[in-house]
């Protein structure tokens, strides 16, 4: 006599959520333990994938290749960090991919066309990303446009503006050759460990602290959990949502700097599809698109799973047409196992 399909009426959410919630023994220590266990398990599936590839090819588990994986994960990862906040509020940001491209172009404008000093150009680019986020936030929060549409519109606008501003040509950073060091400078000479990866790691820490230790993080969760109740509790939800989208925009700006630096050029095209990759990383990491739940560690693991898969499949020379099939299946299986585990737990 079982009735696993039915959610108890006290919750709008999926049965697994409730089942999961039900096991909370509640002491903070236990909660924390469970939290880390959960991430440990997500981490375990990442490790599993790494082990499989390591066995399959001697070229996979080498310092250089691992750094390559981290490098590949950096741009999407930085985007995913910011998006984690947005998704926890129950929102979504489709503009991060083309927004990043536009920020790269702006870096070209600031540094090459306007000839600003490096630090000023970089700062302005990041702030420009924040501006994109701010506009998204205002559209969503003040005008009341649903996040999907507001950021879809911004996605198209940013894609167009990148072409308009750049004159549809890549902009090269000839005036500031140091610009490419931001991403590429090797900070551990032996293994070519690039500075960009170090920046990514620092941003992970920043994002994790913001999300778990600050009032911004608390409100992020509150809004995602029940926006109306949060507003009636006297939290200025509108303003905080603007702040959160702006924050996501700052990450987009940084990603724009990193990717332009990596390519030593601002490419005015592309970026479409990157938003789905970033969102996938967030969701594989256990953040719910319904809002209210999520973690930075999860997002990082999600981003790494994606990067390891892409790299590993190339390393073991899986024919390209099969690669996306394999990634698709692994995403499904990983998320499914995660569900199973949570339901069991």
């Amino acid at each position: 006599m079982t009735s696993p399909t039915v959610t108890p009426p006290t919750s709008d959410r999926s049965p697994s959520t409730t089942a999961f919630a039900a096991i909370d023994k509640g002491t903070p220590r236990f909660a924390r333990l469970r939290g880390s266990l959960q991430q440990l398990l997500a981490f375990a599936s990442l490790i599993l994938i790494v082990v499989v590839f390591s066995i399959a090819s001697p070229h996979f588990f080498t310092a250089n290749n691992l750094v390559s994986i981290l490098t590949a994960a950096t741009v999407t990862g930085v985007l995913a960090l910011g998006t984690t906040f947005v998704i926890i509020t129950g929102g979504i940001d489709l503009s991060i991919g083309t927004g990043m491209v536009l920020c790269g172009v702006m870096a070209g404008v600031f540094l090459t066309y306007l000839g600003w000093p490096l630090w000023a150009g970089v700062a302005a680019t990041i702030l420009f990303g924040g501006l994109i986020g701010l506009i998204n936030g205002v559209n969503i929060s003040v005008l009341g446009i649903p996040p999907f549409i507001a950021t879809l519109g911004m996605m198209l606008i940013a894609a167009g503006l990148s072409l308009v501003i750049s004159g549809t040509k890549p902009i090269y950073f000839n005036e500031t050759p140091e610009f490419q060091s931001i991403m590429n400078l090797s900070i551990i000479p032996g293994i070519r460990f690039p500075m960009g990866v170090a920046i990514f790691i620092v941003m992970i820490v920043v994002a994790a602290v913001l999300l778990s230790k600050t009032i911004l993080g608390r409100y992020t969760f509150s809004i995602g959990s029940n926006e109306a109740a949060t507003a009636l509790s006297g939290v200025n939800v509108r303003r905080w949502k603007i702040v959160i989208y702006t924050l996501a925009g700052l990450f987009v700006g940084l990603a724009g700097v990193l990717s332009a630096s990596r390519l030593s050029s601002a490419q005015p095209t592309g970026g479409m599809g990157l938003e789905l990759e970033a969102i996938a990383a967030v969701v594989i990491g256990g953040t719910s698109l319904q809002g209210g739940k999520g973690s930075i560690v999860g997002t990082v693991i999600g981003a790494l799973i994606m990067a390891v898969l892409t790299n590993g499949l190339r390393i073991i020379s899986v024919p390209q047409e099969w690669q996306s099939v394999a990634v698709g299946i692994v995403i499904l299986v990983a998320v499914y196992l995660d569900m199973l585990r949570r339901r069991r737990a």
């Binding site: 090819s57 001697p58 070229h59 080498t62 250089n64 290749n65 390559s68 490098t71 590949a72 741009v75 072409l163 549809t168 040509k169 890549p170 090269y172 490419q180 590429n184 990717s259 990596r262 390519l263 030593s264 050029s265 490419q267 005015p268 095209t269 592309g270 599809g273 892409t310 790299n311 190339r314 390393i315 073991i316 020379s317 899986v318 024919p319 390209q320 047409e321 099969w322």
Partner: protein, 304 residues
């Protein structure tokens, strides 16, 4: 579609491994390049892999593929750069690791590649323009449906065409240039819009396979008399060849993609063996139309 899936990448065997990173993968053109490369691989007994980003706008993805290729420790690399400068650091890395680099399809703006196997796109596009001018009687309006706005090939095939017209055909007016991403349905829809906006249009040039077929599709859907609207294409593929045979398309420029792939691998093998290479390997281009499509020489460079 098999490129040494099982053991690929293992430089441990005695057959040298050559990694080819192209600009694309899914299109017929790139598949033809790949088949040429595979022919050469068999002939010279090397192992190859062939990869390319999903779209030609995806510079970042290409850079990642190049990085992975380098990490596999190949004996040589064939590389068709989407943006030479973006690939600079990695090319340097290849040089530092003594991995010879062969550029293909379009030049790499760097002195690292030992040679370049490519078509002269500017000249090829000018050839297309010349045939277009003949077809429209050296006067009237023509338009372009280009596959890409930012890539070098897109720009060269546009500029080669436009410059030829500007220099040689004062009575021909270019009324519109639109970009359809090489997607057939999208190119068809935008060609229809161009035709609607310019009822007296006399010719349209499609700058790659998808663009050209899209234009043909538009002509078909609008039921326009092919005699009144000249369509000039680029590349081959079955649909384009059929359109030429059916008279819907005047003719097209074809490169020699199989030759590009073949020459790239051949040059790579020569580089591995320490032989000297010419600065460029011109793989050529050909104009083909209903008159010469079945010639042996043309058939050899066409692909379905």
């Amino acid at each position: 579609a098999d490129s040494g899936a099982t053991t690929g990448g293992d430089a441990g065997g005695d057959t040298p491994y050559v990694a080819l990173v192209s600009k694309g993968f899914q299109h017929q053109f790139w598949q033809a390049v790949k088949s040429g490369a595979e022919q050469a691989a068999e002939e010279f007994d090397v192992e190859i892999t062939f990869e390319g980003p999903d779209t030609e706008a995806d510079v970042d993805q290409q850079i990642q593929m190049l990085q992975t290729a380098l990490d596999k420790g190949p004996a040589a690399i064939g590389f068709a750069a989407l943006d030479s400068q973006a690939a600079g650091p990695l090319l340097q890395q290849a040089k530092d690791s003594n991995i010879p680099v062969i550029a293909f399809d379009s030049g790499v703006d760097s002195d690292i590649p030992l040679t370049t196997a490519a078509t002269d796109n500017l000249a090829a596009a000018a050839e297309a323009a010349k045939h277009m001018a003949d077809a429209v009687g050296h006067e009237g309006k023509v338009a372009l449906v280009v596959h890409d706005q930012t890539s070098v090939t897109g720009q060269e095939r546009r500029d080669g065409f436009v410059e030829y017209m500007e220099e040689n055909e004062p009575d021909i007016e270019i009324v519109d240039i639109q970009y359809g991403g090489g997607d057939q349905a999208k190119s068809a829809d935008l060609a229809k819009a161009i035709i609607a906006a310019n009822p007296d249009l006399k010719g349209i040039y499609g700058s790659n396979e998808g663009s050209a077929i899209g234009v043909v599709q538009a002509v078909k859907e609008l039921g326009i008399d092919p005699a009144a609207l000249a369509v000039v294409g680029f590349d081959s593929g079955k649909a384009q060849m059929d359109a030429i045979r059916d008279g819907l398309m005047l003719g097209a420029i074809t490169q020699n993609p199989v030759g590009i792939g073949y020459e790239t691998v051949k040059a790579a093998v020569e580089a591995i063996n320490g032989e000297d290479l010419p600065e460029t390997i011109d793989t050529g281009y050909y104009w083909y139309d209903a008159a010469n499509i079945d010639d042996e020489e043309i058939q050899a460079v066409l692909y379905e």
